[in-house]
């Protein structure tokens, strides 16, 4: 436990000392938040800021997971930092756990800031089920960091890591509704988006803020995220490498697919469930034109 706490403490300090962490965790996503908010004219209708939140929060989670966990692990391995840890009695587990916990502490202030701006500036009521929302976001963060760590474990060097991460990152942000609203997608892309892991974040966050749903109502998404996180952590531990000289077999790269399996199964389940319905209805309700069920929060008085 002593080593876990010491690693968390130092990871947090190191994160706060790096300008890139401050920029990519706070300034960059906030920039997107304001750009999307102005594009959607969110000041005119608080419902629209939910759409913005459902875009920028998943963007942050995916970026934090793939670049924060993935690239950092590769960098530390390339620089020989992990090699120094290897000669001590610690195992990879405290390193991975400390990295997860630190990421959570670094990411949560961003969530509080965007929710506060949404409330005070865009007049969005505070989410009634905020504990559920925070748990859901935390699960998403753990699942995507696990994915990032597995990708890092399968990359043999920085260059390979960058290619692999971007191969995952761009489809996720463009096909999940995190940057482009899903309604404008052609039917085939809407179908494809059901298999994109980040889509579940978009859907879950939107449902929880707009419909004040509890985490229990989103249990299917929660199970997918938990399974993905568990598989990711297990595979991440199995493939963990301390030194750049330890190369991974080509076939081992397929382990990345293992983390994606829960999302794939859930995508197939959704596909089968919505067969016969118009693709645009996934995951939104028919006729609402929005990506969520609206339980009438917009009719409540605005918080001042």
């Amino acid at each position: 436990m002593k080593s876990y706490l010491a690693l968390m403490k130092i990871d947090l300090k190191l994160a706060m000392r790096m300008r890139s962490v401050i920029f990519f965790n706070y300034l960059f996503p906030l920039m997107f938040f304001f750009i999307f908010a102005s594009l959607y004219r969110a000041r005119q209708d608080p419902k629209l800021i939910i759409r913005v939140l459902a875009m920028v929060i998943p963007l942050g989670i995916v970026g934090n997971g793939l670049f924060g966990a993935g690239m950092r692990a590769i960098q530390e391995r390339e620089l020989g930092v992990l090699r120094r840890y290897k000669v001590t009695p610690i195992t990879p587990l405290p390193l991975l756990v400390a990295s997860m916990v630190t990421a959570w502490f670094v990411f949560m202030p961003y969530i509080l800031v965007v929710l506060s701006i949404s409330h005070f500036y865009y007049h969005l009521p505070w989410p009634e089920n905020w504990p559920s929302l925070l748990v859901f976001i935390s699960l998403g963060l753990v699942a995507f960091r696990s994915l990032g760590m597995v990708i890092a474990s399968t990359a043999n060097n920085m260059q390979e890591g960058q290619i692999l991460i971007q191969l995952f990152y761009f489809p996720m942000i463009f096909l999940s509704g995190a940057t482009i609203p899903m309604e404008v997608f052609p039917p085939i892309l809407q179908r494809m988006s059901q298999f994109v892991p980040a889509s579940y974040l978009v859907k879950g966050i939107k449902d929880m803020i707009s419909s004040n749903q509890s985490i229990g109502a989103e249990w299917e998404l929660v199970v997918v995220l938990i399974v993905a996180a568990a598989v990711g952590l297990t595979v991440g531990l199995k493939l963990f490498r301390w030194e750049k000289e330890e190369k991974i077999r080509k076939g081992a790269k397929l382990w990345v697919a293992a983390v994606l399996v829960p999302f794939l199964i859930w995508g197939i389940y959704n596909y089968v469930k919505s067969k016969g319905a118009a693709p645009a209805q996934w995951p939104q309700q028919k006729g609402t034109g929005s990506l969520h069920r609206d339980n009438g929060y917009a009719h409540r008085p605005r918080a001042s």
């Binding site: 130092i10 020989g80 009695p89």
Partner: protein, 308 residues
């Protein structure tokens, strides 16, 4: 394994794909000694110590370190040893004292980071980021990290490679202090003077094998390379000289003043030369006796220079 052995290695082998890096070596390291593994790059030194540190699995043979099998009991072993790696790094933005506190937390026992910082002359730099340290300071920090769990056995893998001579001397002093504290040190190096100065015993490795093992003096004594005696007289030597005992080869320089004699027993040969010069009333200007160095022993055994 002897009762005072902290390391025992038998028929140790390490293979990387088709390359056999370590070819069935055997040696023991006794408690409290500084044991050197000497050899050129690629000799198998680093592979050997990394197996003993529990960092790499062996392909064959047996190894015991502090009573632990480095492959099967690596966590227990790592808790008890200190390691200073050849190539390593720390996060750029970690402070010196933070790194010591962090590494202390990994071990079941540890010493005060303040004392270590003072001992390694890093106290003034305790709040400095790792990225701002000089090469010598980074190496002193690496040694401090190796001592953080107060180990009785230390592995120092080429601890002075790439450092300037002044810093190398500082590191040598620290290693001598470790010996005075009765710690066992396994030192790999390709600096001959480092091995001669610091090591109680040396194993010379080449192409995965140990080609000689013993104290530096024993290795030099057993060398077939002869000692060289050089005598310079005030005036040219015109007389023909006798066959001195144990002298193998004698030559005179162009000026005729400097006599070079190769001998297998230099003390006896030198005594006889001095007696002859005295009999000839020759005035002596200078005398040099050069014994074979470890480098000479290494060249004799392997046909290579150490830094090849």
């Amino acid at each position: 394994m002897n009762t005072d052995s902290v390391i025992s290695v038998q028929a140790l082998q390490k293979r990387y794909d088709k390359v056999e890096a370590v070819k069935g070596i055997e040696f023991e390291v006794r408690a409290g000694e500084v044991f050197g593994l000497l050899g050129p790059n690629g000799a198998g030194k680093t592979s050997t110590v990394e197996i003993l540190e529990g960092l790499r699995p062996r392909t064959g043979g047996e190894a015991m370190v502090l009573g632990f099998d480095p492959e099967r009991q690596k966590q227990q072993l790592k808790d008890r040893i200190g390691v200073c790696l050849q190539a390593t790094n720390l996060p750029a933005k970690i402070r010196v004292q933070e790194s010591l506190d962090l590494f202390s937390s990994f071990y079941t026992r540890h010493v005060s980071s303040e004392k270590l910082l003072q001992r390694m002359q890093l106290w003034e730099k305790r709040a400095a980021y790792y990225e701002t340290l000089s090469g010598g300071q980074k190496q002193r920090l690496a040694l401090a990290l190796a001592l953080v769990n107060d180990p009785q056995l230390l592995f120092l893998d080429e601890p002075t490679t790439g450092l300037d001579p002044q810093i190398r001397l500082e590191i040598h002093k620290l290693i001598e202090e470790m010996r005075e504290e009765k710690r066992t040190v396994v030192l790999t190096t390709h600096y001959i003077e480092e091995a001669e100065r610091l090591c109680d015993r040396v194993a010379i490795m080449d192409e995965g094998k140990i080609v000689a093992i013993g104290t530096p003096a024993e290795l030099q004594k057993n060398s077939r390379t002869q000692s060289q005696i050089q005598i310079t007289c005030a005036a040219p030597i015109t007389q023909s000289w006798p066959q001195w005992p144990d002298a193998i080869e004698t030559s005179l320089d162009k000026e005729g003043r400097t006599l070079t004699v190769f001998s297998s027993r230099p003390a006896r040969t030198l005594f006889e030369i001095m007696r002859w010069l005295d009999q000839q009333n020759m005035q002596l200007e200078d005398v040099h006796l050069k014994r074979p160095t470890l480098e000479d022993v290494f060249v004799e055994l392997t046909g290579k220079k150490l830094r090849e």
